[in-house]
């Protein structure tokens, strides 16, 4: 299972299979304090997640099925709220989501894909035009022109 972090292929991973955010919420304060990474998805309360996020080094956001795009918005909200740790996409990720993931604030992606090839990295640069602002480039295109002008 290849792991991409900041567009680089990583072999070894210190990621220790974090617990689900819902389980984390059930723990007492002391136990919560020892937890540095969790996994969440669209079923979790975003408000709760934002509240606790500063404690974590890593938040893995799940894509339970290909068509579930909630984690794009969750990642965006985490970044806007100032979360500086790793946001990792897990589950039904794919080459063709890489650029959108990065734009929404994911810096890491697990690719569960037997066909993985190094060429996947090209996905990040396939489309060089970004009309709308996002986490990677907050300015929409008309403001980008404004600043370069």
């Amino acid at each position: 299972m290849p792991l991409l972090v900041n567009r680089e292929i990583r072999g070894v991973d210190s990621y220790a299979g974090p617990i689900a955010f819902s389980e984390y919420l059930e723990l007492d304060d002391a136990a919560q304090a020892s937890i540095k990474s969790i996994r969440a998805n669209g079923e979790d309360s975003l408000d709760q997640l934002l509240l606790h996020s500063s404690r974590f080094d890593l938040i893995a956001l799940e894509f339970p099925i290909i068509r579930d795009g909630r984690s794009f918005s969750i990642a965006r909200e985490l970044r806007v709220a100032g979360f500086g740790g790793q946001i990792r996409a897990v589950g039904e990720t794919s080459r063709d989501k890489l650029q959108f993931l990065e734009r929404c604030g994911f810096d890491a992606v697990e690719l569960d894909d037997e066909h993985f090839r190094r060429e996947f990295l090209e996905a990040y640069t396939e489309i060089s035009v970004q009309y709308q602002g996002a986490v990677d480039q907050p300015l929409p295109i008309y403001r980008q022109q404004e600043t370069t002008a």
Binding site: S73, S94, P140
Partner: protein, 552 residues
């Protein structure tokens, strides 16, 4: 119209390369059916009953003569020589080959056309009033705002995997020619008391299995905040819309379940964090985009022409066409012309390659080289000087594009139905033909007056049947096609949903049922009353009784 700059062009070019690669990976077996499904849908490619179907975007229904020519070329070189205009003002090709689609897209990209987001669970083509910018009673031209929405929504990284598709319509006039109240978001350009430009915002309208008229979420949104507000709505929808059942996944269901007050509050609260930020559109950008839609260099003396009156006097066929298929224009001496894609025999909305070229040609000679597609599945030449109308009519007539039926019963909106669509429950094209054959007499049609007939081949309602004055819905009863008829719907400013007339009728009985329905109308109407108004005045019952009395 909006002309791509180098950046816009780069996007569609890169998209072609990307899609070519995706197609190749799929053919090579490196991409699963499921993964490819999501990708091809975002590029407008469906797999249909007969073959793949490619839907090409006509952003807010505006295209150039050059673009229409290329569409003609594509239909000839890659398809069977015709295309089909849809209620989203896009064009569909029914017979492309999957492996040739990248070549088609490459050809289209050369003239700034693409198929991006014409299907799939993403923000679809924005639609608008087909008389935008030219109608005498318009408040403000909606097209610059449509273009701003187009850019913002194109490949939006966060909203490519929404719970379901998302459709936006924008109007700039009190009259609603864009069915804005049955869209996920309907935007009405208005001015407030201080004279500032903004939008009245509706949310949660839609057709399909659960038809709902949109609800007002904001009375006045300052125009520069359009995108920040849309982003707030979309984000809430992306996070909270249902994903467990595709029939309950549209935003209308979320709005209903949450309640419009609570939903409004959620959106407004989130919007507070966005407004005034990066998404606020600077005046400079509004001006830049608006400049693309400036008035054409009209002939100031156009109204001085005397030949039109002579021709109208001399030629009754022309006179009928003029009355029905041309429309007022803000510039004296000009008319907007509807090119009827509703011939006597032929699928509504279909157009051959030759016809596309004829219309492209006419637009170059007489209408500033631009053409519009309407959600009623016709085309419009928006800016024709009155002195040229006769010639335009003659050419259209020669090519079976001048049936004087705009706004009449046979100007039907019809989805492709069972002949092409793999989701269909029933055929629609044969029923359209049956209606055309039964209501052939133009004088009778004119006497019946304005009637909007909409037909869908299944509950997905691509043919907008709920909002037809007369709606026809194809249903499947033990393997047979049956049709449920509704009356009293409207997609205009007075939007309403049609009510069921009675039990469904067999395929052979649709036109005769309509005959009885309309005879009843003729008996019951008061002088000058439209069908829809009679239905509204009297309710469904008298019609129901009259129609079913005969049958039982």
């Amino acid at each position: 119209m909006y002309i791509y700059n180098e950046v816009d062009q780069r996007l569609v070019d890169e998209r072609v390369v990307q899609y070519r690669d995706q197609t190749q990976r799929f053919i090579a077996g490196d991409l699963s059916e499921d993964e490819f499904l999501a990708l091809r849908l975002m590029n407008g490619l469906y797999i249909q009953r007969q073959a793949p179907m490619l839907r090409v975007a006509i952003p807010y229904g505006l295209m150039s003569a050059e673009q229409l020519r290329v569409l003609a070329e594509v239909s000839r070189d890659f398809d069977k020589g015709y295309g089909h205009f849809t209620t989203r003002t896009n064009i569909q090709f029914n017979w492309p080959k999957l492996e040739e689609v990248p070549d088609i897209l490459e050809r289209l990209a050369k003239v700034q056309l693409h198929a991006i987001q014409t299907s799939g669970n993403c923000i679809r083509n924005t639609t608008t009033d087909h008389f935008a910018g030219i109608h005498p009673s318009e408040t403000e031209d909606p097209r610059p705002w449509c273009e701003l929405i187009r850019q913002w929504s194109t490949l939006h990284p966060e909203f490519a995997y929404l719970p379901r598709k998302f459709k936006i319509a924008v109007t700039g006039s009190k009259e609603d020619r864009a069915a804005s109240q049955v869209h996920d978001v309907g935007l009405h350009l208005v001015r407030n008391k201080a004279g500032e430009l903004g939008f009245e915002v509706l949310v949660g309208g839609g057709l399909g299995r659960t038809p709902i008229i949109g609800k007002k979420i904001r009375e006045f949104l300052p125009a520069p905040e359009l995108l920040s507000y849309l982003e707030a709505i979309l984000r809430i929808y992306n996070l909270k819309g249902r994903r467990d059942n595709k029939y309950k996944a549209r935003i209308k269901i979320l709005v209903e379940a949450t309640g419009i007050e609570a939903f409004t509050e959620q959106v407004e609260r989130h919007w507070e964090t966005l407004k005034g930020g990066e998404l606020r559109i600077p005046q400079q950008e509004i001006d830049r985009v608006t400049a693309f839609f400036a008035d054409h260099p009209y002939n100031e003396d156009a109204a001085a022409d005397l030949t039109l009156d002579e021709k109208l006097e001399a030629d009754p066929d022309f006179r009928t066409w003029y009355a029905r298929n041309t429309h007022p224009h803000k510039q004296p001496g000009y008319r907007a012309v509807t090119v009827s894609l509703k011939p006597h025999l032929g699928a509504p909305g279909d157009i051959t390659a030759l016809q596309m070229e004829v219309v492209a040609d006419l637009s170059e000679r007489f209408s500033f080289a631009q053409i519009r597609s309407t959600h009623e599945q016709n085309l419009v030449l928006a800016d024709v000087a009155q002195a040229d109308l006769y010639e335009v009519w003659q050419v259209l007539n020669e090519h079976n594009l001048a049936r004087a039926n705009i706004g009449l019963l046979t100007d039907m909106i019809v989805c492709p139905g069972f002949d092409f669509c793999s989701l269909a429950n029933a055929h629609t094209l044969n029923i359209a033909e049956q209606i055309n054959q039964t209501f052939e007499d133009l004088d009778y049609l004119h006497d019946l007056g304005e009637i909007r007939l909409n037909m869908s081949g299944c509950i997905n309602a691509c043919g907008h049947h709920h909002v037809g004055h007369i709606g026809i819905l194809g249903v499947d009863k033990k393997g047979e096609d049956w049709y449920q008829i509704t009356i009293g719907g409207s997609s205009r400013e007075d939007a309403s949903l049609g009510k069921v007339l009675g039990r469904a009728v067999a395929a052979d009985d649709v036109a005769s049922t309509l005959e009885r329905l309309l005879e009843t109308y003729v008996e019951l109407r008061v002088e000058g009353e439209r069908f829809i108004d009679t239905v509204r005045r009297l309710g469904v019952t008298p019609f129901k009784e009259a129609v079913y009395a005969v049958a039982s």
